[in-house]
Amino acid sequence: MTTVLATELLTVLTLNQYLLVSAVLFTVGLVGFLARRNLIVMFLCTELMFQAGAIAFIAFSRFHLEVSGQVFVIFILTVAAAEAALALALVVLLYRRKETLNAELWSELRE
């Protein structure tokens, strides 16, 4: 009882723990998105949030013993890749303009 193997640890992990990880990941992503100023970091934070969703999907998929959740994850990854491409393109565009990635500097449009 005192020594537990890592493999055993994995087997006793319940759905809740997976979900907890997912939620923490999501929160970290969100907080990072709100707090950081660098556009690339911010984008990575949204990626974190996406992956949190992916983890939840996989966990639920395992929980329900149903594969469509895992299929969903494939698509999430694809879309995330597409978004990443778009994001990088935009970031490059912006960097060319102002030579900075600070999101706060882009606030000409305002009340």
């Binding site: 997912s22 949204t46 999907f57 639920f60 469509s68 597409a82 978004e83 935009l90 912006l94 000409e108």
Partner: protein
Amino acid sequence: MADKIWFLIPELILLAGVVVVSVLGLSPRKMLRDCLPAVTIAFLLIACVVTPFLYDSDHVSRFHSVMPMLGKYVNMMVCIVGILLALTSAGLIDRRQEASVQSGRAVFDALRANRGEYYAFFLLSLIGVMLCAHANDLIWLFLALELTSLPTYVMVAMSRPSRLAQEAAVKYFFLGAMASAMFLYGFALLYGSTGTIVLTEMQAVFTQQADSEAGINTLGIVGMLLALLGIFYKIAAAPMHFYAADVYEGAAAPVTAFLAFVPKTAGMLAIIMLLSTMGWFSPSGNLPQPILTMLWMVAVLTMTLGNIGALLQRSVKRMLAYSSIAHSGYMLIGIIAGPAAGGTGIDGLGAVLFYLLAYGIMNTAAFSVLAGLERNGQEIESLEELAGMRMRHGLMAAVIAISAGSLLGFPPLLGFVGKLYLFIAGVNAGQIALVVIAGLNSAISAWYYLSIVRQSIMAQPGPQSEVVVRGEAIWPRCAAFLAALAVIIVPIFSWGLMKAADRVTNSPDQLDLLSETQAYQAVKTDSRNP
């Protein structure tokens, strides 16, 4: 599988269109490049014409979706408004480059040309909306939403060679990504709650849950809330509306018009799809209380914040952005009312769908005017630039006044019919307070819509508006004229459209009920006129 493909024929046609326009856009021949909008419109027309023939009862009965008929209406609506939007966009992209090519200062460089891509993205985004209407599982819905959004990010950025457009794109994209993550997470929770991603199956599970003692489980409710809040970004509903004003202002007017209609339609469809799994088609016919509460608050907040925000604006585009927010709030009344509430044949979702069409038309009319006029080569934006339009561009002044009236919901214009339908649906569902709030909001909105009318019709031309001239391309003004005409004429025939919008949300087994109601109404009509 074949059945699914069958209903995707319009999308496939448009996909073909995507390929054609992106290739044509690279053509060194100016004439071919110039006919891109026409090609786009042609494909949209074909898709539109094809659609009605697809929805025969035979195929529909084999189509397992929460709302099998939805696609018919949505496809046609998207195509029609798409045609107007394409007209509005004509001449927008690559203007500078084309001008220098025209004058012979430069040769055409396919690598620097964006026009083809623009129309390709345009069509792709529309395809996304159409796909939303056909979604029968969460993956499809997710992909359709992303397909709708991703091209729009690019469209904003490329819409005009201005820092503002890029700033708008960045804001739109980043906040959009955050929202996407949110509804994705919500989807995950929904999946967790039901163990399926197929909407019809989810519907069955939730109905089962609702019938049980425990009710719908919390995971499902939270997932739904999260998913809805994420999707609210698409329809620019509070509290996810903050980006709207900036983005709409930053993008070029045709793109703004696009943004105000296309993602909003996709979002509304997604909301309808999601909510239809939960409650509407269950025996009780009601949404779970927390969802309803949230929708109610969001509706009130959205219309109020939208309207009070618009009051302060001097920029017409910003004003219309806020008005777009407010209109989402109005549409949420229909969502709250739900389909066939109260058993009187009034369909809240039908009202929403009808309003989307109405909004698409009248909003496009307003933005087309902004797109059709220019000042120093820039599209016009501020209220001051509208001043005295009546004397210099009488028709455009009339169009913008009519569209403002319609957006205000003034009888007997299209916006009024739409709003009336929404209000009736709201009242029908017992949401009197909501309707009164919406009415007061309409009254608030009168302030700023009137200021548009006042500037364009009454005011004398000022220094800023005297240099306003007609844009190069005539097409935006054609779009404006057509849309304004539609705003005036469509109300006369709107019952046909409403009926179309009405039927789509009814699942096949409810169609019988509907026909019964209509028979009853026929009897009633007879008794009224003996």
